[in-house]
Symmetry: C2
Subunit: 216 residues, 2 copies
């Protein structure tokens, strides 16, 4: 790496030099494979989908904690760090919902490119949006985790009081109440959060990853 | 971490349980400090700014390479992975330029939260936008690197043929030709890419980071 900005300005055609610089350069940048080799695991997305109150974030964070403790490089994208930041200029209209998931997918893709295991925890109610996310990420690096829970149970839990407000008509287009949730047909993993504990659910996901060779 | 989704449903008020779950939970998620402790370095943004052709990306990628080889967890955001992905629905109008830099800043913030050293290589011509990026990132974690180069030299290099097209009027609002570039007043680091080689510039940045304690 000894290219100098001003080197050989007299003797070389500058445009050609810039071109060859690019060629030399691209051999030297850090690629995902280099990152994976050093980090010791594959990079991929665990895409958690499910109703509000199904336990997506709780489960995602517990899975992340377990992976981090195993020495993996990890991160979790959820409402806390996305809705108040990158996507704070989006509402809940159909167009904005699509754009919301599109941006999350693109950010997840960047993390995967950076060699990181990224968990995303968003309702992501529409099949088409989840398919678009899957299509964006390279083959085998998108793992859909359906956090399955009856809406009645989610409404009973209602940890953020959102179902109550939706029933009172204070929130419109609320998934499960006044807007549809389209369950995944072939998710890689299903966790039944009505029957399974966070601990067991998280362990099941880690086992899946180990068996499929993602962690070695 | 033994909270079960269905535990004690009969004996405990569910809302209280959900609340206490949150409390327990927040103690257990992985924080930036945990990541930094394991990764062995601080997380921060190296924000490269300068004209098209000044060498921002080349320099950013070389700095990233050096940091990665030192064992740091790193990533670079640049036109290649942002303009065709997250920001592909943005053009070059004033509003879109602001939104472009805003989204990049928000993504950089996520990487910093994930414990990663992130280089960003975008012209980012406006002081206000760079200030907004700086304000978004926690104190001391935003390091502005001004890649200084006379516009005449950048135009001579013109590695992507953009200056030529701007002169022909095929690109409007081109920074340095038909749109302003506001140089930083107090950048943390200035690299004079007209006089310094990539190697020397990158080394200067690494020295700055070492001296300021970012890498220990």
């Amino acid at each position: 790496m000894s290219f100098r900005f001003r080197a050989h300005r007299v003797t070389l055609n500058f445009k050609n030099m810039a071109k060859s610089e690019n060629i030399v350069w691209h051999e030297q940048i850090i690629k995902r494979e280099n990152r994976e080799a050093i980090y010791g695991h594959k990079s991929f997305v665990l895409w958690f989908t499910g109703l509000s109150g199904s336990g997506k974030s709780t489960l995602a964070l517990e899975v992340e904690r377990k992976l981090f403790e195993k020495g993996c490089k990890t991160y979790t994208l959820d409402g806390d760090n996305i809705r108040h930041g990158l996507n704070k200029n989006l509402g809940f209209s159909p167009d904005d919902r699509v754009e919301n998931i599109r941006r999350i997918s693109e950010v997840a893709k960047l993390f995967v490119d950076a060699g990181i295991i990224v968990c995303t925890a968003f309702i992501s109610p529409y099949k088409n949006d989840r398919k678009a996310a899957r299509d964006l990420i390279d083959d085998g690096r998108f793992i859909e985790v359906f956090v399955k829970c009856p809406v009645e149970e989610c409404e009973k839990r209602d940890p953020k009081g959102l179902y109550k407000r939706a029933r009172e008509g204070k929130i419109t287009n609320f998934t499960g109440i006044s807007a549809p949730y389209e369950p995944p047909e072939k998710p890689e993993i299903t966790i039944d959060s009505f029957k399974e504990s966070v601990e067991i659910g998280a362990e099941k996901i880690i086992e899946y990853l180990s068996e499929k060779g993602y962690l070695s």
